[in-house]
Symmetry: C2
Amino acid sequence: MFELHPRLKADTIPVIDWPLCRILLMNECAWPWLVLVPRRHGITEIHELDAGDREMLIQEIAAISTRLQNLSGADKMNVAALGNMVPQLHIHIIARFKDDPAWPKPVFGFQAPNPYDAEFLAEHMPQMVDALGDGPG
Amino acid sequence: MFELHPRLKADTIPVIDWPLCRILLMNECAWPWLVLVPRRHGITEIHELDAGDREMLIQEIAAISTRLQNLSGADKMNVAALGNMVPQLHIHIIARFKDDPAWPKPVFGFQAPNPYDAEFLAEHMPQMVDALGDGPG
């Protein structure tokens, strides 16, 4: 049975479930940063998903990446499945700007987390859910 | 017309062309590290590929990742499309080990490049080409 890894649970805010993935917002206000977690038990690598799930994964990655880039006006999207610290398969989708604090380096481990303000989240989360919609179609 | 970005050309050794991607070996002997470049002109983001190319991309990512993990005996595979420095869409597939120099951090920018020895390459490249084969099927 699918259960979110405790570390991902601690570091993120749930946004919405899409057909394959749970979409999470990384609790880091320096970058618009979503995390996709395929709701499949015991998977650590993209190649462990079956072919149908892999196709759904790339369509969800593309759709989330398009929408997050449109919402944020990012210069570049970064897409990465690393998982050296949290083994459960998860894909980072990060909006990057040429004037962001880490540019052009990757954001991972760049600085200590800057969590969102609760009031900001309460105000903007419904818009985020609305803008993402319920699937890639 | 597809042309490999000069920076990717300088940093890698060509291995083989698959149906969608050109497969390159990063010239960095600290990690078994392949780079997949979809042979499409002017693409910088995964979501700019059409749906059919995206499906082929995820199947090629999965197949290369499986084969590189099997060849290397890696503990974890890292898959990433960043492109902040080289805009041409390219996907890193890196074999990671719990005792590698950067573990558990990402490898990007971790240390100055350690190019392969020419003799090592001449000996091992044919095996690499053979082990990868000509497509994901």
